[in-house]
Symmetry: C2
Subunit: 398 residues, 2 copies
């Protein structure tokens, strides 16, 4: 029996690579501080659970394929408050941002089509692009440059006749980079000029820490046919297990083709849609509170990293990740060592080694992604463990 | 901006084709009896709702990518009772049977790979196969032959060097055909000989009406590497809106590749998994009761169809669909006419015209699929409307 070439070209998640070592370390009684996955500890607004408890149809029926009106209307209202109006048929509900990405790639990529993506990037983009027959054309960024990517000349270098789209996470996972209005404009102009889709994965939109206005690729009227927003309730409301996302676009031809995939999979889970609509009823105070909490964590991580000799890091402006270069020979070996050979009073720490976030071989070898999803006190301890680990590792690996 | 060739090759659902006419008919005050969609009216076991109400994690977290142990164990237990034991890692939880099919096709099909599927078939197979670059090679069946398809010579005719898999819905949607043990054996032997995947879409397994044992393609030990079961709670427990399915296979290489897609989309909805595990706690009396209800409906539909002059139909043995040839020139025109020009005391009826269930052009033009998902009394009225409609349509269309 054969396995498809596209499946073979995909990989298992680099974030799960050290899972077996973590299991072993825990079995030996070690406590692990997890900075390796983006599962926030923030409570899901209880509206979610209330809405489900009030659901009273004794038959759990299919929802409409493009999504339930109650949720589409809630998302419309959210964007209205950002100053951008979408019609109902411009919002398609998906099973998480993941299904949104999968459907979108299947709809726009042929064998050998290229997507420009700044690296380091969210590793699952690999699977969505490759399984649709596409190729990622990376714009390489560096720790020293604060991982900024929106430069006209970089875009031109990456572009060729096979390019179909530019895609980026903004605010950035794994880098925390938030595009400035000028940078967003640079990308918008480039996409318009070359008639490219410009795909903004904006699931972290609410998490910006410098008082910036919340920005979106949807704000440019001239990009009506180019712009596609990937959205999700997972991070916005700490509801990762709901698997509710959306594709938002004004491009009618694209909508019609996406709808084919929506119809083929019939519908998105009914209760999760009803409950996600209720999430959107939280007030601005909810976002302010969460933003404040993450900002505190960002500040803690950043400050602690600056104190470690040899670390290269610039202050990230958003999401709940930061990327840093460590003064170690190899972040993979270092992570493995932290789980197998290191502890401080029985404690150790996990992060995501950088290599898996790059498409270019050999990049990111001494970098790590930190997800600051732990409470303040745990975060401080985790960062101290990182500092101590680097010191000890370098003493024993010369 | 370009749309991919594979998306262009897909179609909107043929089941939704007459939706605009239905909306218009309803606006004019007509009552429509819906036999066109497979949304059962049977109540979802309340275990589902109880389980959700008892969920007490304040953070709605991601589940594990391959599925939650509580649900995997429930499915293991269900198959144990059928006499087939699966290990935990042989069951991958998916977002409905739909995601199972999508992941599977992406994992096994390259550009031009072929899948043998008896026609008429579930129309969404088109999108899953085509979006993975594959081609459906149909085995054509007929109303006169009771839509039976498992013949050695038919399989040989359809096979060529590009064939990767044989796929079928058993019990059948749209035909209601249930494979006999000998037919299942014919397919199993053929798949083994030619080293093909044999994909049993067995979501209707519990719905057989002749007292047959519940059968599965998983029952052949020699097919350990070939057999893949597509499963779902949607029809089994009348929980279509849960979007919980599974891929079951002992093929380790396939498992590893499917896992890449599972990890890329992170997880399946947490609450729906917890609640679906609770569904599996219903006793055999639940299935007996539901089976009895559907059998009564099957008998009603079949008896009523036999009374209509010129209809060709054989007694279907399972699922909750039947396919029949009508004495009309064209089932599409007839359906449209039923919505726009016909009523009996303000009532009319909808079914799914047959053409969309075939891959071969020109097939199924005078056939329809009937989903017997209505209560007995409504079903009788609907079938009377069909009989009256055929009579009147033929009087005015000569």
């Amino acid at each position: 029996m054969k396995i498809s070439q596209k499946a073979q070209a995909c990989n298992l998640s680099p974030m799960r690579k050290f899972h077996p070592y973590a299991v072993e370390a825990k079995a030996k009684g070690k406590k692990i501080y997890h900075l390796n996955i983006g599962q926030p500890d923030i409570e899901t607004p209880p509206n979610y659970y209330y809405a489900i408890q009030n659901f009273d149809n004794p038959v759990l029926e299919y929802a409409a394929s493009p999504g339930m009106p109650v949720l589409i209307n809630a998302i419309q209202h959210y964007y209205d408050k950002l100053g951008i109006h979408y019609e109902e048929n411009e919002i398609l509900i998906t099973t998480g941002g993941s299904e949104a990405l999968q459907m979108l790639m299947l709809s726009i990529l042929d064998e050998g089509s290229e997507v420009i993506i700044p690296e380091p990037f969210y590793p699952n983009y690999n699977t969505f692009v490759k399984s649709a027959g596409g190729v990622i054309r990376p714009i390489t960024t560096t720790p020293e440059g604060g991982y900024r990517y929106a430069f006209r000349e970089k875009l031109e270098e990456a572009y060729n006749e096979n390019t179909r789209a530019i895609m980026f996470t903004n605010p950035g996972n794994p880098t925390g980079v938030v595009l400035t209005p000028e940078e967003l404009r640079t990308i918008a102009d480039f996409a318009k000029e070359h008639e490219l889709y410009v795909i903004g994965d904006e699931v972290y939109r609410e998490f910006v820490y410098g008082g910036e206005n919340l920005a979106t690729i949807g704000q440019f009227p001239e990009l009506a046919d180019n712009a596609v927003i990937i959205d999700s309730v997972s991070k916005r409301f700490s509801a990762c297990g709901a698997r509710i996302g959306a594709i938002i676009t004004r491009n009618k031809e694209l909508q019609q083709n996406l709808l084919k995939f929506c119809q083929a999979r019939l519908s998105v889970a009914t209760l999760d849609q009803v409950a996600s609509a209720a999430l959107y009823r939280v007030g601005p105070d909810y976002f302010e509170k969460v933003r404040k909490e993450y900002k505190l964590r960002r500040d803690t991580c950043y400050k602690k990293l600056l104190e470690i000799p040899g670390v290269v890091v610039k202050e990230p402006q958003g999401a709940f990740y930061m990327m840093a270069a460590l003064p170690v020979d190899n972040a993979d070996s270092f992570q493995k060592w932290l789980l197998t050979d290191f502890d401080d009073n029985g404690d150790t720490v996990m992060f995501a080694p950088g290599e898996g976030f790059y498409a270019t071989p050999g990049r990111g070898l001494n970098e790590i992604r930190i997800a600051y999803v732990l409470k303040q006190q745990d975060l401080e301890r985790a960062m101290d463990l990182l500092a101590l680990g680097i010191k000890k590792y370098n003493e024993t690996h010369k």
